[in-house]
């Protein structure tokens, strides 16, 4: 789950990281009032979950409250890469001398939480990694002791900071960002840019926090920050039902158990000349209700011309899946052809349940894909 810039900024501020003051607004009037309260030059920033806001015109500098209001009129309601801007952050415009990057991520290869810093801030870190990988300094926090103070100082020295006061402040910010990463159960926490002001002090101008969906159960306060505005309706329903669903552009709906098999099923559909309409993993041990919800979500996509079930039972019981399919079809009758390939745990019972339905059986994944592609062409 992604947090908005202003939500991340508030979390940074609570951990003592210097951020720019200001507020969030949804109307041009509110933007003017916030700009008046700040006094002086402000920046108006669109709050949407996409990169490249600045290039798209979603960020504007304003010298007066009236200018800020005018900028807000332009930015609010604007469409950036398919998302409508509903909120803007109005913050004091800061002058600074240079930009630094600071981020905390998980490194799978070393199985550690890694802090990354670069003297080349202000651009995406992936870009720096491509063009000038030596400009990125990385330090792995200890798996049990966490980020040690000397490591945070090493990071500061590593990006060329030398002034004792500046090194101390950078180390404090790095430690605070690491703490935020751990305490919020993030998968990414970054400040970009962290700017160096004329007096040598540091300040976070923009930040990004992405939370681990698997850890939200213990963070109701963070779950409450969820903004579903960029989440398609079907994906929201799937998430609430505990299903992973990602809509794609094709016409063959897929229901599969297991992420690996779901990806492979999409690959096979494509290999047989079809286009998958979605990725859908009902997860391990899905019961009747989940299967029913999944089928309704697949059928809510008007592009779907055939549905293919590929279930290889292990922890998932094939008879439960069959019951879910039958229950869903009883509630939402449809003329969309369905191809079922169900094998594994309790498969005999599963096939018995489906024998009375109109589903087209298939013995193998390839046969199911072939039949689904043919059915989608003729339906």
């Amino acid at each position: 789950m992604k947090l908005h810039e202003y939500q991340a900024r508030d979390i940074l501020a609570r951990q003592g990281i210097p951020v720019t003051g200001g507020g969030v607004a949804t109307t041009p009037d509110d933007v003017r009032r916030i700009a008046e309260a700040i006094g002086g030059r402000v920046v108006v920033k669109a709050q949407v979950f996409v990169g490249g806001r600045g290039k798209a015109g979603g960020i504007a500098l304003a010298d007066t409250p009236a200018d800020a209001e005018a900028a807000a009129r332009r930015i609010l309601g604007m469409n950036i890469k398919g998302l409508t801007v509903e909120k803007v952050l109005v913050a004091e415009a800061i002058t600074y001398e240079r930009e630094i990057y600071l981020g905390v991520v998980m490194d799978r290869a070393t199985r550690a939480i890694v802090l990354m810093a670069s003297a080349e801030g202000g651009v995406e870190i992936e870009e720096v990694a491509r063009t000038n990988p030596d400009a990125i300094v990385k330090i792995a926090a200890h798996p049990m002791l966490g980020l040690l103070d000397f490591q945070a100082r090493d990071l500061a020295f590593g990006i060329g900071l030398r002034d004792a006061r500046q090194v101390r402040q950078f180390a404090q910010i790095a430690s605070a960002l690491y703490r935020i990463y751990m305490e919020t159960d993030a998968t990414l926490a970054e400040i970009n840019p962290l700017v160096v002001k004329a007096d040598g002090s540091l300040q976070a101008l923009d930040s990004k926090i992405v939370l681990d969906d698997s850890a939200l159960f213990r963070h109701p306060e963070l779950e409450a920050l969820r903004d579903s505005s960029d989440e398609p309706e079907a994906e929201r329903r799937a998430r609430e039902a505990g299903i992973t669903y990602i809509k794609l552009d094709g016409d063959i709906g897929c229901m599969v158990n297991g992420a690996g098999l779901a990806m492979a099923t999409m690959d096979v559909v494509k290999l047989y000349g079809g286009e998958p309409a979605n990725f859908l993993d009902i997860g391990g041990g899905a019961g009747k209700e989940k299967v029913k919800a999944a089928l309704q979500i697949i059928l809510s996509d008007p592009n779907v011309r055939a549905v293919m079930f590929n279930i290889f039972g292990g922890i998932t019981r094939v008879d439960e899946v069959a019951r879910g399919i039958v229950a869903a079809l009883a509630e939402v009758p449809t003329s969309v052809p369905m191809i079922a390939r169900l094998v594994g745990t309790n498969e005999v019972e599963g096939r018995r349940i489906l024998a009375e339905s109109t589903l087209i059986p298939a013995a193998t994944l390839a046969e199911a894909a072939e039949k689904a592609v043919a059915a989608a062409r003729t339906s």
Binding site: M106, R108, A109, R111, A112, I113, E126, A129, P143, M144, Y181, M182, D185, A186, T187, D212, S214, A215, F217, R218, T244, I246, L248, V256, N257, G258, A259, G260, L261, A262, M263, A264, M266, D267, V268, K270, L271, P276, F279, D281, G283, G284, G285, I311, F312, G313, G314, I315, T316, V343, G344, T345, T364, L365, A366
Partner: protein, 290 residues
Amino acid sequence: MSILVDSGTRLLVQGITGREGEFHTRQMLAYGTNVVAGVTPGRGGQRAIDGAVPVFNSVAEAVAATGANVSIIYVPAPFAPDAIREAAAAGIALVVCITEGIPANDMVATVRYVHERGSRLIGPNCPGLLTPGQAKVGIIPGNIAIPGPVGVVSKSGTLTYEAVDALTRLGIGQSTIVGIGGDPIIGTTFVDVLALFERDPATRAIVLIGEIGGRAEIDAAEYIAAHITRPVVSFIAGQTAPPGKRMGHAGAIISGGEGTAQEKISALEAVGVTVARLPTDIAQLVRERL
């Protein structure tokens, strides 16, 4: 021969009285696995699975009473990291965690702790292991596998069943099937399992099933080039996955143009691995290379 689990496995089930734990313990017993104990804190002294398995309050108690040497975990995600640590602390040599949805950051310290205790962790978010004819430790359906010369290692659960089923249909058996799990941080990697298969005289070919995201398959390719003498056949899932979308597994995401299926397929092919286009083609390719 086999790796990690066999007829000498004395299995302990953590979470044996839960819905999944109970269901799959029955399946493991039916397969002939030697399930010696169960653990559910607060249920010590009871017997589970129609009286067949004694239940203990802690892993340490269960180990002392039964000599359990492998543990399998069916505990819900919020409690699973503690269950893993408890098993490692009690001296269990091999800990297998089936649980899906464990917060990724919890696994950082947990994996380190397990290593420090000298235990090996498989998973989390994995289907476990199966040594056909000897022991089923996890949820891999026993009826799809037969004993034989092919070692199978995979990040995925059900996709592995697909490949194993196809092997069995061609009459090609398996030495051991290992599901390592699809999370970003796992206890045992492709490279670890490849090393075990290379040392196992009964394993004459290896099947490696990977997916998009991370670079574990690239590391595996480098290891294969340097250390593996047996033929390797592979399949990489997610060739049609769009970038930036997490495809179910927490680990399966193409980010910043890295971790694509094509990149992995190229790395594996460059070191002589045969990469299948369909998961069901794996079996035929193994037959050709045996």
